[in-house]
């Protein structure tokens, strides 16, 4: 019984972490689907969203949750458009690798800027639920984790609908698949790309807001970007369902390998699996998505 509770607890923790990684993976895929590049600053976007929400809007200005969330989303959407202008647009005709390099630079810049703006102390905010949780039969679940799971499911549904059913979503996919052809259809490709960055940044912001009460906000928060990246590879690049499944896989692998193999090398194990996928199954677990060339 005690053992069963422990295993259940492991599963809960794995799913909770995994849904966070899945959320980050969605942000990656959004940009990937639209412009065929991997925004390697995605984790830093999450961090920035967390800082704006936690450090500035909540702690400094004392705003309640919803207005703070909304303002963070708006700020990050604008930030997404601006960073698209700086990092992507000038290099739009260059090799995708160049754009990815410039996103790395952007990430480093954001880490340094956040150090100056918010200091070295991790920003700790309680969010809606603080450290409160459910306790059933020896298994404890933070309300915040349930909240994250619900948010991820809702976002997933919205995104699926958006890409499959709306003209805007379809034209964004068209731009991603063949920008010239899309332009010949009369689609303003660069506007679509700007919208994509805005939305992807907003997703990252939501990630930061949801994570802040669980992990606190510090420069280290940007590391969730790596796990999100692993989730994308495992789920298959550009595959939206795959991203979430990939996220859950990474979360579960992390918790179970830490429990039964090595807690110290749990990240190494995740990345070993990531490399395994890159070599043997680059199309991801579902095998539908196209391969990304780095």
């Amino acid at each position: 019984m005690a053992e069963l509770a422990i295993v259940l607890q492991q599963i809960v923790a794995g799913l909770a972490l995994g849904s966070i990684y899945g959320l980050v993976a969605l942000g990656y895929n959004f940009i990937f689907n639209a412009v065929g590049i991997v925004n390697l600053a995605q984790g830093d976007f999450v961090m920035l969203g967390g800082y704006i929400y936690g450090g500035t809007l909540t702690l400094l200005l004392g705003l309640p949750f919803l207005p703070a969330l909304l303002l963070t989303a708006i700020a990050m959407a604008i930030f997404g458009i601006v960073s698209q202008r700086i990092v992507y647009y000038p290099l739009r005709d260059a090799h995708p690798r160049m754009v990815m390099l410039s996103t790395i630079a952007l990430g480093i810049f954001l880490k340094n800027i956040s150090l100056i703006a918010w200091g070295t102390y991790p920003v700790s905010v309680s969010g809606l639920f603080g450290q409160r949780g459910l306790r059933i039969a020896g298994v404890s679940i933070l309300y915040q984790y349930i909240f994250i799971l619900v948010c991820v499911i809702i976002l997933l549904a919205i995104q699926q609908y958006f890409f499959k059913k709306t003209t805007l979503g379809k034209s964004m996919r068209a731009v991603a698949q063949d920008r010239l052809a899309a332009m010949l259809m009369g689609i303003d490709a660069y506007k679509m790309i700007a919208i994509t960055f805005a939305y992807s940044s907003t997703l990252a912001a939501i990630g930061g807001v949801l994570l802040a009460p669980v992990f606190m906000v510090s420069q280290v928060l940007a590391n969730v970007g790596l796990k999100g990246f692993a989730a994308c590879v495992i789920g298959g690049w550009g595959d939206i369902t795959g991203a979430v499944i990939g996220g859950l896989v990474v979360g579960l692998v992390e918790v179970f390998s830490a429990s039964y193999i090595s807690s110290v090398y749990k990240d190494a194990i995740v990345f070993a699996i990531l490399i395994g996928f890159l070599i043997f199954r680059p199309q991801g677990i579902l095998g539908r998505a196209t391969e990304v060339s780095l």
């Binding site: 003209t167 379809k170 034209s171 996919r173 068209a174 698949q177 063949d178 010239l180 052809a181 899309a182 332009m183 010949l184 259809m185 009369g186 689609i187 303003d188 196209t290």
Partner: protein, 235 residues
């Protein structure tokens, strides 16, 4: 309807078009023939505003459209079926057609009507409407590309080598549909390496050689032209 006046086009510093002038009147099929690398695609891309044309003038329905952004040119009523088809491989046939309808997305009521029209022209597309574009055969993809171009209900349709890579029987079929499209009221500027086919279905033609128009005239006359015959018709 469309007039190019002494258009120069550049890729970086490389000049690909030298003072190209040509004209397409309403209701016509005009063909542009020439060898590999002559500048045919460049001419079409200049019209679409994709390639920069710092000198010369491009007029559409009397209006100067030189240097306009591509989307606004499409909205004016010019569609282009690009070389190599370039259908969206990960979108279904329906979604591809939906993208073709993009310039008219504010008139959703007309979508069904247009869809029926292209399905009548290319019944195979209706059978495959939920299939991903990338899974169609070459001929089907060319039909989808044509259909997608038509979904915009363009006044002028630019076609870049629609016969490329198709079996002779399919080429015949595609050419017939171009004539049909034209009969239904769409003006066509057809770029082809398959000069014989192009001249057979067109009213007038231009010959492009290394970025310069060398010969032009009624298609029948061009077919009789000794130089055209030896260079492009292999006789």
């Amino acid at each position: 309807m469309l007039r190019l006046e002494k258009v120069n086009a550049f890729y970086g510093h490389i000049q690909a078009l030298h003072e190209v002038s040509l004209e397409v009147a309403e209701g016509e099929i005009v063909c542009l023939i020439g060898a590999n690398g002559a500048g045919k695609t460049t001419t079409l891309m200049s019209i679409m505003g994709v390639v920069s044309t710092p000198q010369g003038k491009i007029l559409f329905e009397g209006e100067d459209i030189t240097g306009r952004p591509t989307p606004s040119i499409v909205h004016k009523g010019i569609s282009c079926v690009p070389e190599g088809r370039r259908i969206f491989p990960q979108l279904t046939v329906m979604e591809n057609l939906d993208m073709g309808f993009y310039p008219r997305r504010d008139r959703p009521a007309e979508f069904e009507e247009d869809l029926e029209r292209v399905f009548r022209l290319f019944p195979v597309l209706e059978e495959r409407k939920d299939q991903l574009g990338g899974t169609l055969s070459g001929g089907q993809q060319q039909m989808l590309a044509l259909a997608r171009g038509l979904m915009a209900r363009p006044k002028l349709l630019l076609l870049d080598e629609p016969s490329l890579g198709l079996a002779p029987l399919l080429v015949e079929q595609v050419m017939e549909s171009i004539v049909e499209i034209n009969k239904q009221g769409t003006t066509v500027l057809l770029v082809e390496q398959n000069a014989l086919m192009a001249l057979e279905i067109s009213h007038r033609g231009y010959v492009l050689e290394t970025g310069t128009i060398t010969i032009s005239g009624e298609s029948g006359k061009l077919m009789a032209d000794a130089q055209v015959r030896s260079s492009y018709l292999g006789t």
